[in-house]
Symmetry: D2
C-alpha cells in the first residue's frame, strides 16, 4: 500500500476565518481524508511541528509526499529541505500543489525562479487535459472547471516539463501549464496548480481524482539507487 | 542566404471574395512578401501548378518549406507528399501553418490524427510565449493578441512537441498548443496555429516576426545524412 | 486483468533451424508464455492467419499489442496497419520489439524512416538504464548484459523519444537508444531493441522483466477519447 | 558579435606538470584561443581572481559563459554562483564542460546530484551524434573519436535533457549522455562531457567545432525577461 505524507504549512487556517471555514481541519486533513478513503496509508505533517513533522523516520517511511505552502516558505529549514530533496532523488514521489511553486523544495529541484503571474479575483479556471494517454488523467473528462480560483499566468519560470499533462485557461485572458511532471534521480515530481486557500478546490471530486492518480503515478519504482563514483572497467581495455 | 518556398493551396482566394479582399494576391504571396523583405530568397508554389509546384529541383533548392492548405488536402498527390517527407528527413525545414494541421505531409510526419476542436466565431486569441529562451520568440512581447481568429482547441492530437513555444488562449474558453517544434531526421518542423483565411492574420507584424524567426530556426544544419544499413565494427570483436 | 496480444511474423521459425531450436514454438509463444506466467491474459496472432490474426474483435479486446516482425514487413496489409494505428490512438498500448523498428505500424506512428546501423556478429550488448525513475525499470539492475546479440547503432532515425529509458553499448563501438517511449493519441508506445531471432534473448529473465514492466506501463488509461471537431463556446463571446 | 567568457578553475595547470604541458597557458586560454579565431569576442576568468573574475560588469557583458572546474568546486563563492544563475535566467548562455558536472552552478540549475560513474584509464571514447538536426552538430561527422579520455558512465544523475545531442561509447563498457541541452528561464545551458585535463581534448578540431557551435546556439535571444507578479486582467471578468 502506498504511504502518503501530506505536508501543509497550516498558517492561513489559523489566521483567516474564511480559510478556516473552507478547511476546518486544515488543508492537510482535507487532502489526507480523500486519499485515505481512496485506500492509501496517509499521515500529515505541518510546519510548526518539530522538524516540520518530517523526521528521518517519517521521510523514510513515505512513498509520496504532498506539499502545500504559501506564507512561510522561508520558515522551512534548509536542512529539512535538503533531506526531502535527497529522499526524492532516492525514489520518493513529490506532489507540489498551487503556491508550493515558490517552496524551497520545488525551487531546489527545478533550478529556476519558479515565478509566475498571479491575481486573486475569484475568476473561472478551466483545466484542460493535453495528454490523454497519461495515467494522471485516468477517469477525467476533457477539462475540469473551477468557478473561482486564483489566477496563475505564463510565463511560469520552470524547466520544460518532462510531460505536460494539463493547461489552464483563465477568464482574465491568461494560460498556464498547470500539470507538469519531472523525474529527478529515482524520484518523480508532479506540480499541480489549483488550490487557493479561500476556495473549496480540494473538496472538488475531479481535483481529488487528479491527486489520487498522481499519488499512484509518483509512487516509487522498486529498484536500487544507481552506483556512482569510481568503477572498474566491464571490458578488457586493450589497444585497438 | 536561406531559400524559402511558400506553398499555398490557393483555393479560398479563388472562391471567396472575403479572402480575395484580405489576400488579393493569395496567402502565399503575402507570406513570401514579408519573407523577401526580411532578406530571404523566396519563391511560391501552389496546388494547381504541375506537381503542385514542388518538382524535385524546387524541393532540392528549398531550405525551408512553408505549408498552408485547407480545402483540398486530399488533392495533394501522395507521391509529392512522400518526396516532401524525404526532403525533410534530409534536412529541409518545414513550417506548417494553421489548417495545415490536417495536411497529408503533417499527418505523415506526426503519425497521429492531428485532429482538434474548432469554431469560426471571430473571437479573440492571445498567443502566449511559454519558452522565452527559444529563438522563435526573438523580439516578441509576452503575447500576441489577435482580435479575430478561428478557434482551435485541445485536445490537439499530436505527439508531445520537442519544444512547446506558444500556447493560445481563446475567448470562448479553450486553450491550444499553438507553437510546436519537432525534429524529424535531419530536418526541423514547426507548427504555428494562426492564419484563418478570412482574417488579416499574416499582415500582422508580430505574426510575421514569428514566421521570420521560424525560418531562421528551421534552416538546415549543414551536415550529411547519417549512414544507415550494414556496417563493419569499429572495434576488434574479441571475447571478454 | 491486462489483455495482451503477442503478434509475430513467425517466418524465421519456419525457415531457419537455428531459430526453430531457440524458439521451438515461435517467438510469440515464448513471449506469451512468460507474460501469462506473470498474470496477464494473453493470446497470440501471426502473419499467416486470416487478417494476420488481428480482427476487429481481437484488436478491440487487446489492451497491449506486442509486435515482432522482420522478413515480411511488406506482407502486412495496409488496412490492418491502419486499424492497429487507430486502436493505438484510441488507447491500446503497443510494444515494438527489435526488427519491428522497420514494421509498417512503427513507421506510421513515428513519421520517420526508423532506419539504423546493424551488424550480425554475435557481439556483446550492455543495455544501460538511463532513467531510474521509470516504471519500466522496476526491479532491474543498472544494466542488462547479453552475450550475443545483433548490433543496432546510431543514428536511429526516430523522433526524439518522450522518455529515453535504456541506452545500449555494443562491443563493436556503437551506442543505441534501445528503450524509447512515445505517446500517440490516447495510447502509449514502447520500442525495445533486443531480440534477434537466432539468440535466446527472450528467454533471458531480465529481458522478460522489461517486457512485463512495459506491458503494465502501456496498459490503457481508462478514459474516453477526446471530442474533436466543431464545438460551441464555453464562454459568452462578448466584445472586450 | 557574441561575447564569450571562458571560466577556468586553473588549478591543475599550476600543480600538475602533465597538465601544464598539455595546456601551457591553461585550459581557459586554449578554449578562448579557438573561439577568438572563430570570430567571437572572448575573455577569460579564473577562480583565483577577485570575485573569480566574474564581476557584475563581466557577467552583464557576457553572452555565453563557459565553465571548467574540478578540484575546487567548493571554493567558488555561493554569492557568485547565485549571480551566474540569475544571469542565466536573464538570458546568458552557459556551457558546462566535463568535470563541471559537479560545479555548484550546474547542480543549482539542475536540481539533482549530477553524479556519475568515472574511471581514469586513458581509454577510447566515441561520441555519437544522436540528433542530426541539432545546430550543435553542424559540420560534424557521425562520431568524434578520442583515443584517450577519462570515462564517465551512466547513470548520470541529471534531469532528462530537453534535447539529447550526443551519446558516448567507452571502451570499458559504459555509455554516457555526453551532450545535453536545457533551457532555464531566458537562458540556454549545454553540458558537454569531454575534456579531462591530462589529455589534449580541447586541441582536437572536432571538439572545438562542437564548442563553437554550442556558443552560437547558446547566445541569448534578444527579448525581455517576462513580467512576473501581480497583474490586472486582460479581459473583463464578467459572470458566465
Amino acid at each position: 500500500m502506498v504511504k502518503v505524507t501530506v505536508w501543509n504549512e497550516n498558517r492561513h487556517e489559523q489566521k483567516n476565518p474564511v480559510v478556516k471555514e473552507v478547511y476546518p481541519t486544515g488543508i492537510h486533513n482535507a487532502i489526507a481524508g480523500f486519499l485515505s478513503t481512496a485506500g492509501f496509508e496517509t499521515r500529515t505533517a505541518t510546519l510548526d511541528q518539530p522538524q516540520h513533522g518530517l523526521t528521518d523516520d517519517v521521510l523514510q517511511d513515505t512513498d509520496v509526499l504532498i506539499w502545500w505552502g504559501h506564507l512561510a516558505h522561508n520558515e522551512v529549514s534548509d536542512e529539512i529541505v535538503e533531506k526531502v530533496r535527497q529522499r526524492v532523488l532516492n525514489g520518493m514521489g513529490l506532489i507540489v500543489l498551487h503556491s508550493g511553486h515558490f517552496s524551497k523544495i520545488f525551487k531546489a529541484l527545478m533550478g529556476t525562479s519558479c515565478d509566475l503571474k498571479w491575481r486573486e479575483a475569484g475568476e473561472r479556471e478551466r483545466i484542460w487535459v493535453v495528454n490523454p494517454s497519461h495515467p494522471i488523467t485516468k477517469g477525467l473528462p476533457e477539462y475540469i472547471e473551477l468557478e473561482q480560483e486564483e489566477m496563475y499566468g505564463e510565463h511560469f519560470d520552470i524547466p520544460a516539463p518532462d510531460e505536460l499533462v494539463f493547461t489552464s485557461w483563465f477568464q482574465g485572458g491568461e494560460v498556464f501549464r498547470s500539470g507538469c511532471t519531472y523525474s529527478r534521480g529515482n524520484g518523480k515530481v508532479f506540480y499541480f496548480r489549483p488550490g487557493h486557500e479561500t476556495y473549496p478546490t480540494y473538496h472538488q471530486e475531479l481535483i481529488q481524482k487528479v491527486i489520487i492518480n498522481a499519488v499512484q503515478w509518483a509512487a516509487p519504482v522498486e529498484r536500487l539507487r544507481p552506483v556512482y563514483g569510481n568503477v572498474q572497467p566491464l571490458e578488457v581495455l586493450a589497444s585497438k
